[in-house]
Amino acid sequence: MNPRAADALLGLGGILIVLAGWELVARSGVVSQSVFPPPIHAMVIGLRKVPLPDLGGHVWISLQRIAFGFSAGALLGVVIAVAGGWYRVFGNLVRPVVEMLRPIPPLAWIPMAIVWFGLGEPSKVFVIFLGAFFPVLTNTWKGMSNIDATLLRAGQTMGLSGPELLIKVAIPATLPDIATGLRIGWGLAFGVLVAAELIAAESGLGYMIMHARQLGEVEVIILGILVIGAANLVTDWLLARVLANWLGKWQDTTRAE
């Protein structure tokens, strides 16, 4: 078996051990099963209350919101950071604004989002957008400011300057940091999903969980939490694969000597 498959199997094993431990503790009767139901039981009951097609619908709408918010946030984050890192005047203009807004948690924007966008889709997408925007922006900016000067000089001695030097040398040199930003941004977009869907949503995993709490359906809450975790795990893995492909062999820059 190749080492990567072995690693993946171990990871799966870890998840199963935790689920098994949970199952045992919950069945032992130490805590009431109505507060802390065993996972398999919870999933069975949960799926009875929210049948698979409905659950799939919630997952689908949540993923759509994340995809929109993340794409917009990532795109704008990369554009602003690249421009800010390359054009000094623009960078100095934008940097303090970014530094001021960055520490504000995306959730703190929810009331403002409702005022601006009402209760519809855009307000949820906006909060997710914020979750993705800042990590992508800061990582890209960091990459742009840390480009090895020798690479730029090499480009210049090959007759490159201005936008051509930016596109052919500076941006490719920043790709690993952009990739890091995208992964962190994706994680955060997932992180704020439930909160975003607290905004008077009628669909999505966040809504499903909050609605279940009102009805006292602990099983559905657990099902929702597990599905969010699994969806994040799977999509993050996919994103990592795509990015690794995209960066090619460049990433094994660790010594061949």
């Binding site: 090895d148 020798t150 690479l151 000089r153 090499a154 210049q156 001695t157 090959m158 007759g159 490159l160 300057s161 040398v169 490719p172 040199a173 790709l175 960066l247 090619g248 062999k249 460049w250 990433q251 094994d252 820059t253 660790t254 010594r255 061949a256 000597e257």
Partner: protein
């Protein structure tokens, strides 16, 4: 071409100081001329201004006063007529060795097909035909510098500027690379300015060795010996002593 006497590279009264104009200059009133196809080594201690002078010739750094001319034309900025090989890490890590060389060839105005052919030829010339698909991070330091030389040659530059290109390599690889460079240079004649802090390296490579110190060129030594030269050649040893003593 008016013919015989015009130097390929002329450095005319070049001075450079960084920061305040009152600060001690790194270079003051440097004059140097390199003939077509000549191999000139700039030798000196760290901080003597040899890399600064090379960067000024490349057009990467403007002189505070004076000027540099290549083929009689004043240098106003970097460009592909002046190929440069840096000490290390100047290859684009996102491109394979072949694509790095091809990048240089494309910059010299070649179409994709022609650029690819040139890249193959140059990789062959530097002995890395088998390694075209490798990325810089998968190559040893010496191999990376071979690719960097191939990339600079792919520009088909009028002059080749080398900034301690073997300075980061281990001694053994360094000696191999010196021989390799001479072999490549003998098949692709260029005017070369080669910066080094190794007296022996300068004596193995250069037609002339310009010793730098005190903000300028302290002395110039002709190495009138056919290459490949031997480190134990009496003339080489004599020059080595002469330069060594001149540095103290």
């Amino acid at each position: 071409m008016t013919g015989n006497a015009m130097p390929k590279i002329e450095v005319l009264r070049v001075s450079k100081h960084f920061g305040a104009a009152s600060s001690a200059p790194v270079l003051s009133g440097v004059d140097l001329a390199c003939a077509e196809n000549e191999f000139v080594c700039l030798l000196g201690r760290s901080g003597c201004g040899k890399t600064t002078l090379l960067n000024i010739i490349a057009g990467l750094v403007p002189p505070s006063s004076g000027e540099v001319r290549v083929d009689g034309e004043r240098v106003t900025g970097p460009g592909r007529g002046k190929g440069m090989v840096f000490q290390q890490n100047a290859l684009f890590p996102w491109l394979s060795a072949r694509s790095n060389v091809e990048f240089g060839a494309r910059r010299s105005g070649l179409e994709k097909q022609a650029a690819r052919r040139i890249a193959e030829e140059l990789l062959e010339l530097v002995g890395l035909r088998e390694y075209g698909e490798r990325y810089p991070g998968q190559l040893s330091g010496g191999m990376q510098q071979r690719v960097a030389i191939a990339r600079a040659l792919a520009l088909d530059p009028q002059i080749l500027l080398m900034d301690e290109p073997f300075g980061a390599l281990d001694e053994i690889t360094r000696l191999d690379m010196q021989a390799e460079l001479l072999r490549v240079w003998s098949s692709r004649r260029k005017t070369v300015v080669f910066v080094t802090h190794s007296i022996m390296e300068a004596l193995m490579l250069g037609d002339r060795v310009a010793v730098m110190g005190g903000g300028g060129i302290a002395s110039i030594h002709d190495v009138a010996k056919d290459r490949p030269r031997s480190r134990s050649d009496p003339a080489v040893i004599r020059l080595h002593d002469e330069i060594w003593q001149g540095l103290h």
